[in-house]
Symmetry: D2
Subunit: 360 residues, 4 copies
């Protein structure tokens, strides 16, 4: 591909953690040229002042986020606060690929949106989780079932999933689609790195509060990612989904370790369970079922577009336990954006993405 | 109390994390004189070489763990590997108070012991969780129900609970005793500091592996604390207990944040739920139900004998969610030992113990 | 001591880290009753909302910081931003013991104050570092030299030292007083926990920025603690002090590890060096020279009023290297305040203070 | 470059941290094919068992480290314990490029080797720090002075520098070569991540000991990197080098923040100082002098082959202060190896290497 054929990508919200991570990945993408970088309060600064780890782009100047600044690109990535992307997106041409890292266009149900976000729904865009299994009902052949990646080629609008949602969905969907777990009483508890909370200046996000401490947030059914998980598992075949969901902040900058458990369908044996997960992920480039007995650590995925998954049957508890590790900013956000962008534009799905984590 | 009346306490296993923490607490105990300190491979070293934070005891020399070394004390605390305390305890006189920090004497069921520990059961001792509620069946008046502390005065043998067990038991038992939660499908996921794993030299316990990472262990119903939690909740009134239990190591030296959830009994409303927890802990010196809306952080309890508990009803999930924070080495181990020792010896229950955590 | 004889202490700035730590220590002080707690923006809140680790004081309500609120106490501790304590202190009666945790009254030189703080000097108070050695010139008998503690009995004003200052001063002063190190070219580099920066909401203090990272600040001779270190070492006998001082933030909530090095005076041998440090600290309850070959870790001092010091001679570099570990909030701030308060009021110097750190 | 032209690289010591990092970088290298992976105690395991973050190589089996296993490659990278690479290297053919990550072949002085390592010197190889400035004496034109990269094309043996050495050398060498700093009294104090200590199972490397703590090691002139720093600064023009060097472990997995300070040559002004650093690094792809006032954080360099450097003049202390941040496993080890390999083989120096750090 010659230089003149490079895809020109603008990033709005380039000073935030999500925007910065998209830039980190795009800087290594063989088919991309980075165009305009825009910001809100940081407009006028150099990128080096706010994202000093992006050495190759340090001299770039952040422009204000306006339709003019974003004009003339093949792709526009929106790393804006929830509720802000709808308005910006509405001003962009239909033939530009718009990739929204925010929540605005993820949910299909306007009433879910209104209940959890409290504003008017901006509409639904194709969902940027290529590995999402599509099943009409539980019990399909997981290996051959359709995936969300089939829906993405040619689209010009992508809603990137929430990071917690990706971890829980990837952990549970094989069992849902295969019909080996029940979805009426799922429980998920997550260990979350702080970058998921963004750069907001809030007391509980200070280093002094975080170091050496674990603390939950959005407990008791209030987290905004709940309806999105339910939506995904319904796509994967669940007739109905009930989930207790609790994220907990732990002292790491990045990473999600999601422990998600669901009742085992009566009569199913452990081999059937493992077979469902194997079938689901055998061919996936970025979702890896670990060998039996090896459990995921977030360290395996740091900086990489990988999800590491393990599953076990707790016979005494009559539950299937899954643990999924991802980097919330990569497979949970920016990597999913690039992977979906690749599919939308007809590029190799893995272009510019890596599976090797930075460890230790 | 004159010096001649001080209680003389020996600590076996003084070079380990649990033994060291007992010494830290005893050093501040107004009625205690620290006697012999014994160790295994570290015998012959000064305490300052292996526990340099215990400045006031730095010059003390560690003796080998023998009946002779432990003779002549009012209290002997055993901080030994699981399976080792039974043998040492058998050699100690009946009138000495023996406090076992290990698992050997916790379980009432020999078959549970054999299934989870794989050796011969050493017998059952009075259980060192003073706040444990005793109820014949669900639905008792939680405020007035008997507590385990009633069983401890005069005893000369105490089995200190497992740290995870304490966190999960304190989180759930009010609802069990009051009959507002069901115990047939409990799910608990814990964020754990590394000191719970002891000083063993294992690769996954290295700082390089731990820093920036979250990793689970003993997943799928294999953790040895499961039968102990079940035993406790049966004491608290549950006819039968089924639990899915997953601990996850997160990058902190100390602390347990236990998220434990159980199905809400049909027809129970949120006020009844909160009332049960309030009734259970209103008079407890060390277990604090936080004000509504404030969630526990392990930072609140660092170094203190406190458990901070919060409870919420997730109506959509039809589950009660509890979060409990403790310091695994204090309320989870050494603090429980001192608190129970105080009760056994007829001292003020709170002597030598504090509720103020070290934060930030 | 009967309840009517308890010393009544008010804390202004009770919602900050320094104020909170004073309260943690005072809550365990046998001769103290905690009186008014005041705050600025948090006035009206309960202490439990802003300092939830202080369980025993959780129900206390924060009042606005006014002379009225602070009236009627034996002691008033000021945990206020630099530049604010001067004004509040001026409104307090002369016979009340005022302990200033801030910088306002530490420096003797008004011009140093103006150069480094940029405002008008509030005046100089007796300095709250009891271990500070007084020597007219280098070469005194360190064991018998006067200490700052001799100046504190009866005083009604105390300026608590800066935390970095305490670490560097304790590390170097034995060599200064004994005349075995030169003070014309000191270099100190510190590893600092984040709580030293307070609760200010600044981007570089966010957990996401701190976790996994080390970053310096106030490099190149700009840090405000420089003139205070120079002042102390002059008290310890140095004719003149030149110091290069660099603090670096590392991912821990508390703790200072100060590596301070100074040229060895020609002809001095290693035994003389060690002898100076031994003489200086042999009788100190809170400053511990470790056995040869054992180096301080901040973990030894967490939550305790201890400083751990080690010294070595680097013959090839012709420099003495000292490493000092303290808890910045205890020996570095609140512990020094309580220790100095004890001396001022004629109490046992160690009352309410411990030397056992919380480790691991 | 067609597949048949790929460079075939074997890695001995593939189960260690250094070996694993080389593999992470080589997996992304466009001109490399990864050949044999060898290990010692882990021989027979799959790479996925010991380096589970290297997803694409997880199925590879580790062979024992023998000449046979290493035969038939264009490049052999040795990630072996100090003292072990000499012997293995001696068995490899002369026309194979051998890149030694260990210390064995770094020092030119056999007596330095013997003094600091206590064994027989294995000989000296071309040094793998391409940015090292060569100057006969202080005061050269830094911009045009020779660099170590000029020595590497065509070589078949490379000694990769020590990680601390790289940080200190890059921080100071511009001032040495330009003649604006004196080298007779350098002081360097480093904040170090734990991976620099390798995977050895030692008590002070346990997570429980590391979390929340800072601790020094090898204090007082004993660290083995001292003669290597001296050697480098002599190459950069220093007639003689005296250095006080203290590394301190801080709670992060990776990263070095090196604060290195040296006396300012009399009469030199701050502009001359900055000019020297700007001239030294203006054209360097991996060493970046930050804009004035911005200080390095190790977070800027995590996972990247970048060194971020800043310099300031402390006029009062008459010292130049430099701070350098690198990832000890990348620019400090594996990145330096790949960069030097590229030069030796005539590839683009930057092939397979990135400058964008993983942050936050």
């Amino acid at each position: 591909m010659s230089s003149s054929q490079l895809i020109r990508v603008a990033v709005a919200g380039a000073s935030g953690y999500a925007g910065g991570e998209v830039l980190r990945l795009l800087a290594a993408h063989p088919f991309v040229e980075i165009g305009a970088l825009t910001a809100h309060t940081n407009a006028g600064s150099s990128l080096g002042e706010v994202q000093p780890h992006l050495r190759g782009l340090a001299h770039r100047i952040l422009e204000p986020t306006t339709p003019d600044a974003l004009r003339g690109h093949d792709v526009v990535v929106l790393g804006l606060p929830h509720g802000a992307s709808g308005q910006v997106a509405a001003q962009l041409p239909d033939d530009v690929l718009v990739v929204d890292l925010g929540a605005d266009h993820r949910l299909e149900s306007a009433s879910d949106w209104e209940q959890f976000y409290g504003s008017t729904h901006a509409g639904t865009w194709p969902y940027g989780l290529p590995e999402l299994i599509h099943a009409e009902a539980p019990g399909v052949d997981v290996a051959t079932a359709a995936r969300q990646r089939d829906k993405l080629p040619g689209t010009r609008r992508i809603a990137v999933p929430g990071c917690n949602v990706t971890a829980v969905t990837l952990g549970l969907q094989p069992g849902v689609a295969a019909g080996v777990i029940e979805t009426g009483d799922i429980v998920a508890v997550l260990a979350n790195g702080y970058s998921g909370a963004g750069k907001a200046l809030k007391p509980h996000l200070l280093a002094s509060e975080a170091l050496g401490a674990a603390q939950p947030y959005a407990v008791g059914g209030t987290h905004r990612h709940i309806p999105e998980i339910q939506q995904n598992l319904r796509v994967a075949g669940a007739p109905q989904v009930t989930i207790s969901f609790t994220p907990t902040l732990v002292p790491m900058a990045r990473g999600i370790l999601a422990t998600a458990t669901a009742p085992l369908v009566k009569g199913v044996d452990p081999e059937q369970v493992r077979a469902a997960w194997e079938a689901a992920y055998a061919e996936e480039p970025f979702v890896h079922l670990l060998p039996e007995g090896q459990w995921p650590s977030t360290a395996m995925t740091l900086g990489a577009n990988t999800a590491c998954v393990q599953v076990a049957v707790d016979a005494a508890a009559r539950r299937v336990v899954t643990v999924t590790a991802i980097d919330n900013l990569v497979k949970g956000t920016a990597g999913a954006a690039v992977q979906s962008m690749n599919l939308a534009l007809g590029l190799r799905e893995t272009a510019g993405l890596i599976t090797e984590g930075v460890a230790p």
